[in-house]
């Protein structure tokens, strides 16, 4: 497989010590705040804070560098696409048009457009460090327990644990199957028609999926033999009790969300408009 997955790395910082529930709740509140607001001031504060948090989690560049480069690339492509499809979206939102450079057709470059696209960029960037941090600092074992704690059924929580447990196994199966099929002459790369591409794809994923169906039988038998689903509740070996720091973090996230949304919507509009004055 191309590319490397982000993985949890054990370190000892207050962020690592936080319970998975706290981090998950924080991450969700944070993303939803980032999704709802378009207020530049709020977004800037969020970006600053997420960078601080990221720094405090002692995450190293080598853990996330590859992925970060990908995000930047994607972001740039997206910004260009927005401009190509809708060069005057900024004017539409902010109501004014301050032309910076005259370009043919409707492609005049406006300050409003630049500001709008700057906001899109901020929106992405505020969430990214928190996602990265969540993944590299949360022990996967605790993640399942966390899902159960925030009220999601333990069946789903455990399903997620199984997913994380078997990702490496499925990955190694995938590599083995891909190799064997390549040796038989099936190459995924190269120019080919859509039909050909689908056919080649099928030659790798069919054996992968069908051998996984056997695995489902084995794993469910093993779980049943050891009493999974016997009671309405279950306990978690890796579950963690909430500490004072957890409660403080949660309180902060909640207060921050409310304050951000209040600031954002105080003027009845989710956009912060520096052009109206």
């Amino acid at each position: 497989m191309a590319g490397r997955l982000l993985t949890y790395e054990e370190k000892d910082t207050w962020i690592h010590r936080l319970s998975g529930v706290t981090k998950l709740a924080f991450f969700l509140l944070w993303s939803f705040t980032g999704m709802l607001t378009y207020d530049t001031r709020v977004l800037l504060v969020m970006l600053a804070l997420s960078l601080v948090i990221f720094y405090m989690s002692k995450t190293e560049w080598k853990q996330v560098g590859m992925v970060f480069k990908f995000i930047l690339l994607f972001l740039c492509l997206n910004l260009v696409a927005v401009y190509i499809f809708s060069p005057q979206q900024g004017t539409l939102i902010y109501g004014t048009s301050t032309v910076l450079v005259n370009l043919p057709g409707r492609y005049d470059l406006t300050v409003e457009q630049l500001f709008y696209e700057f906001n899109i960029m901020l929106k992405y960037l505020t969430v990214t460090p928190v996602v990265l941090m969540f993944i590299v600092t949360t022990n996967p074992s605790e993640f399942a327990a966390s899902l159960n704690r925030i009220g999601i059924s333990y069946n789903v929580g455990y399903a997620v644990a199984i997913a994380l447990r078997y990702v490496p196994d499925v990955q190694s199966d995938f590599t083995k199957i891909k190799h064997a099929q390549e040796a038989r002459g099936i190459e995924m790369s190269g120019k080919a028609s859509v039909w050909e591409r689908l056919k080649k794809m099928s030659m790798i994923i069919f054996p992968l999926i069908f051998s996984s169906m056997d695995r489902i039988d084995v794993v469910s038998n093993a779980m049943e033999l050891r009493g999974f689903g016997k009671h309405k509740k279950r306990t978690w070996y890796k579950g963690r009790k909430l500490t004072k720091t957890d409660y403080m973090t949660l309180a902060f996230a909640a207060v921050f969300m409310i304050a951000s949304l209040w600031i954002t919507f105080a003027d009845g509009n989710r956009f912060y408009n520096p052009f109206s004055r």
Partner: protein, 575 residues
């Protein structure tokens, strides 16, 4: 004493089948006993195990007559959850049974489901981890463990429940010989120290007998064929009749014309009374001819001073150097993770060496793509389900030709020819899903053979197969080798396979080539066996204890004799 497991006139039929799988079973197992249940695939021995832990009839529905009582309970009424408090089952597939993200969580799994408070779980897990010696691994993920370690985790996972009966379903299937020996040792220790009743289902009889068992129950065609002590059973012809491999030294004694007596305790070669037989064995050794010396043929594949590492400074393979001759049948052996698969990946071109060369017919293949190599070197994976990507047999076998743009008429001709060689021609219009595991394996071999490779690499060709299927697959490969001159390279840790079917073994341990010799000398060399996690063959002990100094020569003659017996299809061979 009342039996802890008691089958009385028990017959069971799966809902999806027309004939009963178990018939009139009468079997009693007493508390604290250690019983081995043997039988070929399809004999019903796994069904018997499933009856004990409640999988039958709850996961595999069907009807039964007669009665079964396990620790006073009727599994058909108690259910799987209820039975799991009494019977702990350790499954064959250690990856499937390892459910937790780490060792500790997996051991605690049953406790979690029972809502045991966290603090209590910590102490219970700690305790049972000590018992099976995984105390230091508690924070490890399954990917960081060996097969043997995973199995010990599975044992810990059922021992936390303080069950009375331990049920092992083919515990040796995925382990290398030395690890298997350790597993049997551990089972024995738990049996003695914790006074559990132990039931082991396995067809690798000789390996289980490394430690004492009280009784062996032989299942054949759904019935109890024999229920005796190991000593008695080894003196009879039940095993041979039911297609179960007897220990090699027993076979050797029989070849030498000895009539083994139970009173001489043949269950363990180390302690068996050999005085009545030693003379005959020596006589036989003098009489049979040694195998003819092999003639050196041209080199098919040559590996020259190969180095490989995934992370620099951490070599997976270093200084690997060997030759494979045309038409050879050869084994690459070593414990799991020693670098055997890496070697085959290098030969097939999935990864590239840091240093060194691979020559095919004296030509460097470094510049050849995976696809080009695939035309001369065919790779057959261990699990056929991971190779088969077409629903129909014909299409699956034709695949390699079709993607190479071979004309339709020629594809048809070559596929039919290959199917005939593989004995699959009558099934050519069947869906793959209608075939048995062994037949599927043949389909994958056919799908490679159709490209006319010069070298065939097979990863664990017989893993998990019983003696009959093992013989079937291996005889087929031997025929390919002898009749069609295909060079065959097998990656394996099956010692019988090495001994019986290969001319030479390349032994890899910790990334180094530690031996390149005949299987008989590898398996009679304690130093090499230890390094590569193999086990010395029992023929070695027999030879030494009978006063034959050249143990490796004895093993070689035995194998040569065996091969002649097999090719004559009879009991005796020309001496």
């Amino acid at each position: 004493m009342t039996p802890i497991i008691e089958f009385k006139n028990y017959t069971f039929k799966y809902r999806s089948q027309t004939e009963p799988t178990l018939r009139d079973i009468d079997l009693s197992i007493y508390p604290g006993e250690k019983v081995l249940i043997v039988g070929p695939s399809g004999s019903g021995k796994s069904t018997l195990a499933h009856c004990i832990n409640g999988m039958v009839p709850f996961s595999f529905p069907g009807e039964h007559t007669g009665s079964l009582s396990v620790n006073g309970l009727d599994p058909a009424k108690t259910g799987i959850f209820g039975m799991s408090k009494t019977v702990g089952t350790v499954l064959q597939d250690t990856d499937g049974q390892f459910i937790g993200l780490t060792v500790a969580e997996d051991v605690a799994f049953a406790l979690e489901n029972d809502c045991v408070p966290q603090e209590k779980m910590f102490s219970l897990v700690q305790e049972v981890a000590q018992t099976v010696d995984i105390g230091k691994l508690l924070d490890h993920a399954p990917t960081e463990l060996s097969g043997g370690q995973k199995q010990r985790v599975s044992m810990a996972g059922v021992l936390v429940d303080d069950v009375d009966i331990l049920l092992f379903d083919e515990p040796l299937a995925n382990l290398d010989p030395a690890t298997g020996k350790r597993a049997i040792d551990l089972i024995d220790r738990i049996h003695r120290e914790q006074k559990k009743t132990v039931v082991i289902i396995e067809h690798r009889l000789e390996d289980v007998l490394y430690r004492d068992v009280d009784r062996i129950v032989v299942i054949g065609d759904g019935r109890v064929v024999a229920d005796r002590t190991p000593d008695e059973l080894l003196c009879s012809d039940v095993l041979e009749r039911e297609g179960i491999r007897e220990p090699l030294y027993v076979t050797a004694l029989k070849h030498a014309g000895c009539r083994v007596q139970a009173g001489d305790h043949p269950a363990h070669i180390e302690t068996m009374r050999l005085e009545p037989y030693a003379g005959k064995v020596r006589e036989w050794y003098q009489k049979v001819s040694p195998p003819p010396a092999r003639e050196e043929k041209d080199t098919a594949l040559e590996v020259l001073d190969l180095d490989f590492s995934y992370i620099s400074g951490n070599p997976v393979l270093s200084n690997i150097d060997f030759k494979i001759h045309k038409g050879e049948m050869l084994a690459i052996v070593g414990k799991n993770g020693a670098g055997k698969s890496t070697l085959s990946n290098l030969i097939c071109g999935f990864i590239n060496p840091d240093r060194g060369k691979i020559l095919l017919n004296d030509e460097d293949i470094a510049s050849k793509s995976i696809k080009e190599r695939g035309e001369v070197i065919g790779l057959v994976m261990q699990n056929p389900n991971q190779m088969i990507s077409k629903p129909m047999i014909f299409d699956e076998v034709a695949l390699g030709l079709v993607v190479r743009g071979v004309p339709e008429e020629e594809v048809k001709e070559r596929v039919y020819e290959t199917l005939k060689i593989c004995g699959l021609y009558p099934f050519r219009n069947w869906p793959v899903s209608a075939l048995s595991f062994g037949q599927k394996k043949r389909v994958t071999i056919a799908s490679i053979l159709v490209m006319n490779p010069q070298v065939l690499i097979l990863d664990e060709p017989t893993a998990g197969q019983d003696y009959r299927h093992y013989t079937e697959i291996m005889e087929f490969l031997k025929e390919l080798n002898e009749k069609y001159g295909i060079t065959i390279l097998m990656i394996t840790h099956d010692m019988h396979l090495m001994l019986e079917y290969t001319d030479r073994a390349i032994v890899i341990a910790d990334g180094q080539l530690v031996a390149d010799d005949t299987p008989a000398s590898v398996l009679t060399d304690e130093r090499i066996a230890k390094k590569a996690y193999l086990k010395k063959t029992s023929l070695y002990d027999l030879a030494v204890r009978c006063g034959i100094p050249d143990a490796s020569g004895f093993a070689e003659r035995f194998i040569h004799y065996e091969r002649q017996v097999r090719s004559h299809g009879g009991q005796t061979a020309d001496l």
